[in-house]
């Protein structure tokens, strides 16, 4: 029952999403996997920038200091600059943001776009953490667990006590009142159930589900006319519910209005004949008294778990601290804005003040130009670029051989880097989009292998354990990535 189910029948998966604990856990796992993979993506991109641009920053430092400092001293200083957020106990994303700002003046156009995406994510990171917190605390907030267990007849006395206590302390929350009404109804305490449902309807007068439950409670008290009125309200709010028409048909049967019962039954069958057939087969045992209760929709429970609460706030703050730390998540938009301002200021510094490496010949230069793809080009290469190929043999064979030599060196270097970390060679070799794709796949595969794709647990076990399969998938992706890095290195044609 609790082991891996092998290849899942499609029915399993469909049912998973009808069950709130499972759908919440699956959505939470997917969401947190994507978030973690994205954090890994930007962290690894930051590392790629360090590999790619450290020589640039060292060259500029050397020129600024104008002292004959050894490479060791300069590297130590650069290391210190890059690790500065560590001394403030900042999270990994502070490092990434810091690195992006430090390297901003050296970045190519495509890389700058990546940084802007990251800053946008920083801007909305508070909300991202909020949703993550919603999934992490989904079993402990807003008595959602108690509501679900009660509606599914799995509740223990302590769950009912929790519901009662919540209703007392939150008189404006209608959903627990509806659930409590169901409990009272099962106990045979119809009057109290009706009172609770009427109160719930005062709070949410457009909730058709509450009207349906009210009708069932009233029918339990043999107040059929009021039950019919309640159901008519439910149908007015949702004409396409098979349950409301079916229940109406049952109540008409109770009042011996067989004509209207048959009419309502026909309407229900028209909407979903299979489901009506299921109702009938289940109701055969006690056809006279069977009414259908509508359960709280999964979407509504997910919405409730995302509603702000003390627990959610704590968890989302903790999640944000895992990524950033140092400040509270309320400052996320401010951090994004400050980063934008810093970038605006940096953009106003003339580009010729910073070292650039020619993507064609590898020479470090200051003025230069850029290719149509936005890659750095020294003026010589830019000029050679404009020349017709017919004329190249006449001109500057030395420069062309310099370009060829650099291309070969770069090709071998990026191939080695790509094998060390898929995507690293591509980023260093100015193939940003391929690099980003590979790094994201690398991050995702690592997340899947390490976590098995599981972050949150289904409160009520579904009997499925897909972690081994997810880990296998992660290993498969990693294998494919390394095979691609080996067979199609960044310098190769077509990559």
């Amino acid at each position: 029952m609790y082991s891996t189910a092998g290849i899942l029948p499609i029915g399993y998966i469909k049912r998973l999403f009808d069950l709130w604990p499972c759908s919440s856990a699956v959505l939470g796992d997917v969401y947190l996997s994507v978030v973690l993979a994205t954090i890994l993506l930007f962290t690894l991109i930051g590392i790629c920038f360090i590999v790619k641009y450290t020589s640039h920053i060292r060259n500029d430092l050397k020129n600024i200091i104008s002292a004959d400092l050894s490479n060791l001293a300069l590297n130590l200083w650069i290391g210190f600059i890059l690790m500065l957020p560590y001394f403030f106990r900042a999270g990994v994303l502070w490092f990434v943001l810091w690195w992006f700002l430090v390297f901003w003046v050296y970045l190519a156009k495509a890389e700058k776009k990546l940084v802007m995406i990251f800053i946008f994510l920083v801007f909305i990171s508070g909300w991202i953490a909020h949703v993550g917190g919603g999934f992490v605390t989904y079993g402990t907030t807003h008595v959602d667990k108690e509501i679900y267990l009660t509606e599914n007849n799995m509740a223990k006395p302590k769950d009912v006590i929790a519901l009662t206590s919540w209703i007392a302390s939150h008189p404006d929350d209608a959903e627990p009142m509806n659930t409590m009404a169901l409990v009272e109804k099962r106990r045979g305490n119809f009057t109290h159930a009706v009172d609770l449902l009427k109160h719930a309807l005062d709070l949410e007068p457009t909730n058709a589900r509450f009207y349906n439950n009210l009708a069932i409670a009233l029918a339990g008290m043999s107040r059929y006319q009021e039950a019919i009125t309640a159901l008519k309200d439910a149908i007015a709010l949702n004409r396409h519910s098979v349950i409301y028409h079916y229940n109406m048909s049952r109540i008409y049967q109770k009042t011996y209005n067989l004509y209207d019962a048959d009419k309502e039954f026909g309407l229900a069958s028209k909407i979903d004949p299979m489901r009506v057939s299921a109702f009938l087969s289940r109701g055969d045992k006690d056809i006279e008294h069977t009414f259908i209760e509508e359960r709280i929709p999964v979407g509504r429970l997910i919405y409730r778990e995302m509603t702000p609460s003390e627990d959610l706030s704590r968890a989302s703050e903790a999640l944000w601290a895992m990524g950033f730390g140092l400040l509270k998540k309320v400052y996320a938009p401010l951090i994004g804005m400050v980063a934008c301002i810093v970038i605006l200021i940096l953009e106003h510094i003339p580009r010729e003040r910073f070292t650039k490496r020619c993507s064609r010949c590898g020479r470090l230069y200051y003025v230069g130009s850029s290719s149509s793809h936005g890659h750095s080009l020294c003026l010589q290469c830019h000029w050679l670029d404009m020349k017709s190929k017919k004329k190249l043999e006449n001109v500057l064979t030395q420069k062309i051989s310099e370009v060829k030599k650099y291309r070969l060196l770069m090709s071998a270097y990026t191939a080695r880097l790509e094998l060390a970390m898929p995507g690293l060679g591509s980023i260093v070799g100015d193939r940003t989009s391929i690099g980003v794709t590979r790094i994201y796949m690398l991050g995702l595969s690592l997340v899947l292998i390490i976590t098995g794709g599981q972050f949150v647990y289904s409160l009520v076990p579904s009997g499925l354990d897909v972690r081994p399969a997810i880990r296998m998938l992660g290993m498969f992706i990693l294998g494919v990535l390394y095979w691609r890095a080996y067979s199609m290195p960044p310098g190769a044609k077509g990559v």
């Binding site: 029952m1 029915g11 049912r15 009808d18 499972c22 020129n63 104008s66 002292a67 004959d68 400092l69 001293a73 130590l76 200083w77 210190f80 001394f87 106990r89 990994v92 992490v136 402990t140 667990k145 509606e151 069932i216 349950i243 489901r275 289940r282 006690d286 069977t290 009414f291 259908i292 209760e293 509508e294 359960r295 704590r314 968890a315 903790a318 601290a321 895992m322 230069y365 200051y366 003025v367 130009s369 020294c378 003026l379 010589q380 000029w383 404009m386 017709s388 004329k391 006449n394 500057l396 420069k399 949150v456 647990y457 289904s458 409160l459 009520v460 076990p461 579904s462 009997g463 499925l464």
Partner: protein
Amino acid sequence: MSLVGTLKGFGVTEIFQLINQQMKTGTLVVNAPRAKISIFFSDGYIRGIYSDSWDADPRVKILVDGGFVKHKDLEVAKGGEKESLNWVDILIAQNKLSKALLDKITNVVLRDLFFDILRWGEGNYRFEEGVNASREMIECNAQAENIMLDTLRSIDEWPLVEQKVPPLDYYPVVIMPVTEGIVQKFKLTDKDIRIYDLIDGNKTIDTLINESLETRHDVLSSIVRLMDAFLIEVFPKETIKGSDRFSKMQTVFAGLKKVFAYILLLVTVVALVYISRPGLYVPLWPNPVVTQYIYAQKEIANNFKYSKQAIPLLHSDKDNYNH
């Protein structure tokens, strides 16, 4: 037929390329706010140059300031100019000027001119077929592409050099002999070594520019590179006499600077570690609050598991039945 364009977007390099490719004969007139420059081409080769910003032939200044020709001889030659014989021809005929030296100086003038044209952002150019050579035109014979390639490299490096250029009336002084190791470490070129060889402690930077037969930008780039390599240092005239003592002090100071860089780094790191000490070793992952919530979920799930209340996926029903 004439070709016109603006200097924005390297338009002038494209026109040079076009002239070279199509082996054109004509005059390229570059009109910028600072000057109007005419370059005369014949079969794609540069045959002459002229700038309206010149008061006199710019080669004269280089020849005289560099000490290649005496001012007196030049004046005599200029006095003997005729319709078909100019001062250059006279000096060459008198063996007071060699053709090779003149070509080299013309090349320097040409490269300086290219440097200006390629750096100008504003202005326009016009190419007209046919050569309307004036008497002031400086004759030359050069391939535009070679000149351009060297000039582009100078422009690439110039922003860095520009901010380090010492005053031109300062005296460069050798403070360390050049070795193969230094040449490799600082990637010094032959041109840099040639400039280094010219330095004797008695010449200003301006004199070096005049004597070197290199462009002003190339000489200044070399001097900056030599200074960065700690091979030379520059002093104002007043301090030149005490330069030996000063250069020793400079060497000591450079060594102290190196040590200071390490000490400063160490002190900064220690200070920051001290300030942020309490929380520095507390890991941010995993966060205990998040772990606590996840464990709570796990515990609830385990309770259901052990009480055999797992959700039967295949048998559960979507609806509740009220009996």
